[in-house]
Structure formats: structure tokens, C-alpha cells
Amino acid sequence: MRMIGQVAVNVFKESVRDKVLYNLVAFAVLLIAVSYLLGQLTAGQDVKIIKDLGLAAIATFGLFIAVFIGIGLVWKEVERRSIYSLLSKPVRRSEFILGKYAGLVLTLLVNVSVMTAAFYAVLAYLDTQFSDSVRAAWPAPATDPGMLRAIGLIFVELMLVTAVALFLSTFSSPFLSAALTFGLWVIGHFNTDLRNFEAVVESPAAAYLARGLYYVLPNFAAFDIKAQVVHALPVEPSYIATTAVYGAVYVAFLLTGAVVVFSRRDFK
């Protein structure tokens, strides 16, 4: 466990050295600039649009970090040949993989936390720009803590994307890993279509295949409750819990797969 922690801290330090956290500045500038410009364009919908934009930006910035750093976690060590010196130390291959994963999740956690704080700060400022009567017409307060539920599920989704990228990077090139991870992310948002495939094809085999893929491929659409929280619609705690557990189990599956593949790799 200590070893996993050490690898994770190193991954985090490396991402800081690689200026990954600069994206936080871009996020803050984007939100502040948009909130300043929106007033003239949205016919009074500034707060809704900032909420939509903020949540989408947290998900998107996180997605890019998860994919582009995730695919390089193992590959960079192999490419730089530092893997030899690492594995010659008392670090098991499973600890190496789990540590790399934990390090990137820590980086994502810091990113998402800071982005969330900036997001709420911009909303708190916007809140002061409206009268009580306007605020009364909103479905939820500007700084509604209910949005944290969507951010929580975004974070679980990012953990899953990271696991996919890390798993793929244990046996394929960075370019292919990135393409496959993005591909799976896109397919994961078309999950409902796979479920309803039998309604548009006549072949029972194709319908069974689609139904099988529906159950096997990661269902990224399930993590998206952004619209619900912005409109202050009820989201059952049991839904959030089930989805989070689904993500955790899928992450465990992918990490196990990554450890198995990486353990069998021959670096001679």
C-alpha cells in the first residue's frame, strides 16, 4: 500500500511539473469571460447557461486530462526505459499500475475540486447581480449544492475513463489508446441505442450482439445528470449510489485487466 502511495504521489508531482494544472487557469478565464459576455445575449438566462457551461467544462477538461495523461502513464516509462530501473526496485507490477492510476485520480481530484470552487465562486458573484424577484423564478439557487451530485458522478466517470485509458495503454500505442478511449466514451453515450437495436434490425443475431454490447461496454451516459441538477429535478440517492458502484466495479475490472496484461509483458 505504501508503495502504491509513493508511485501515486510521483505521478501527481509529474503532472504538476508537466503544467497540467494550467488548465485550471483556462477554466477560470473561460467561466469569467463567458459570464461577463453572456448578459447581452441570453435574455436573462445567464445563471442557467453558466451552470450548463461550468458542468460541461469540468467534464470536458477532466476528460482530456484523463485520456491524454492516462494513455502515457505506462507508455512513457517504457519509452524512456525508466521501467527497467523501476521494476528492479521492490515495486510489484500490480503496485506500479495501481499507483499510476491512483496518482492520476489524485490529479483529477485536485483539478475537479479547484474547478468546482471556481465554478461556485462565479455563480456566487452572478447571484449578487439579480434582484430577489428574478432569483425567485429560478428553479434552484445559483449556488445550489445539489449540483455537487452531478460533479460527483462526473468524477466517477473520469475515474472510469482513466481506467480505460490505462488499461489500453498497457498493450497498445498512445495514439491507438487515445482513439479507442475516445471511441469507447462516444459509444458509451449511445448506450440506449444499443439497447433498442432490436427495434431497427430484423436479424436476431445482430439484436443479441447489440444487447450484449449494451451490457458489456461502459455506460457513460448513466453518469450524466447535469441537466437534472440544473433544472433542480429530483435524482434519487439510490440512483447516484448504484451508478457510483457500477463505476467502481468497472474500474476494478479494468485495473485487474491492466495488472494481468502488464504482469505478462516482457520488457527484455
Binding site: A43, G44, K48, D52, A56, A137, V230, L233
Partner: protein, 293 residues
Amino acid sequence: MKPAAALLVVLMGAVVGLQAVHEGRGGRPSADSPNLLYVRSPEAMQRLALSYEALLADVYWIRTVQHFGGTRRSTDPGKRYDLLYPLLDLTTSLDPLFNIAYQFGSLFLAEPPPGGPGRPELAIALLQKGLQVQPDKWEFAQQIGFVHYWWRKDYTEAAAWFRLAAEMPGAPFWLTSMAAVTLAEGGNRQSSRLLWSEIARSEYEWFHNEAQRRLQQLDALDQIDQLQAAADAFEQRFGREAAAWDDLRRAGYLYGTPADPTGVLYRIASGVVGLGPGSRLFPLPVESARPPQ
């Protein structure tokens, strides 16, 4: 380092200068129309949006506001609002709970030319789409009644929708009396004033301003009636039409030059009174005779 910095400054200066030259020559030759909507199918856009439906709905909403505002301000006599309904349809399909898009959108659509496309049937279709998603949203039912009242002059249908809205959960008490007044006195200025006064209470600035403008139009109609009566009396007394306000002043019918509620002077020509040129109350609503019950 210093020469490199100087070179950067010079190059950036050159870029800005060339951009100014480019702008001075009218910019890029137009190759496409700004009135272009690549994807019109809400179903296709919902699929393309992945998990960004709400954000795309916001983008289409901003385009809607720009399209409506830009076309409305355009001085082109052949201006059209072709994209208005497709944009609103996309917005409300991507985010079916985007309430303001239904409410503003229906007002945009119903507004007669040149201020809007004059499509009350599309306004009603948009609001009914909203009611399918939120069947208890009394504001949508009230607005359908309002479109029937104000733009279709169908007071029976309007009263039916106001009554339906009044029966929905959370509806304000005055909707019941509005339904009764509409049925009994629909089309007269007093009931119109009642409707717009309720809308003027809206917390949304656009609704509030639009309602204030409509109330000013109703005041202007009252004032024009009084001025027209004075002009008619002048004609009867002197056997000729009043050519200018001076005629009515000298005859003792007026004490000054009358102005509409926005401060623009009324116009009189050949004994007929109307809004002065440039008044933002133009065009005044057409008042139809109430059909016999």
C-alpha cells in the same frame, strides 16, 4: 533576447495593421449566408450532442435571440425570420425543460411582421410541445390562451385555455377571472390591459418591457381616439379637414402638441390622426370587431 522581443512586437503590430486593412476592405468575401442552419433535425442533434445537450441548447438559444433581435433590427424590407422556429425547436428538443425558450419563443413567433414572423400557429405548437413535457405548467396554457387572444383574436379559444390554466396546480387566482372576462369582453381594451398588466409583473426584463410597450400602445389607442374625435369635430364645425395641430389649437380643441406615451409627437394629415414617424409603438395593434355570440 531583446531583438527577439522587438521582432515579436513588430510582427504582432503588422498582424494587427493587416487585420485593420482587411476590415477596411469589408472583410472576407461572403461565401455563405448567415441564415444557415446545418442540422435541422432535433433527433440528429440529440445524438450528436453526446452528453452536451444542455450546453448545445444554450448555444441554440443564444442563436435564437440573436436571429430574432438581428432580423427585427434589420432595415431590409424583405427580412424574414426563417430560422426562428427551427432554432426554437432544436433548443427545446435538446433541453425540454428550457421554459423560457417556450415562453419567449412563442412571443417571438406570434409577433406580426415586421417585428416578427407572424406565425401564431407555430407559437401555439411550441407551447403545446412544452405542455407535453410538463403537463402541469400553467404558464404555457396561459400563454396559449394569450396567443389566441392577442394574435388570433379568438376569444372563445383564449378563454378556454385560461380556464384550463386556472385549473392547473399552482395557478394564480386571477386566471379564473381572466377566463371569464375574456369570454364576456374579449377584444376590448380594458381586458387587453388586464392581460398585459399581469405579464408586466414578470420578473423577466424582456417580458416586462414588452408588456409595458403593449400597455403604452393601448394608452396611445385611447389618446388617438380622443384626438380623432377632436379632429372630426373640427371638420364638422369648419367644413374642412384639419391639416395640422395648429388648426385644432387655434380652434380651442387643444392646448399643445400631443405626444404619444414614448414622447414622439402624433401626426395629423388630412384629418386623420396616427403615430408620428419613428415612434417605437408602431405598428399599433389592429382591433377587430368582436364576433356576435
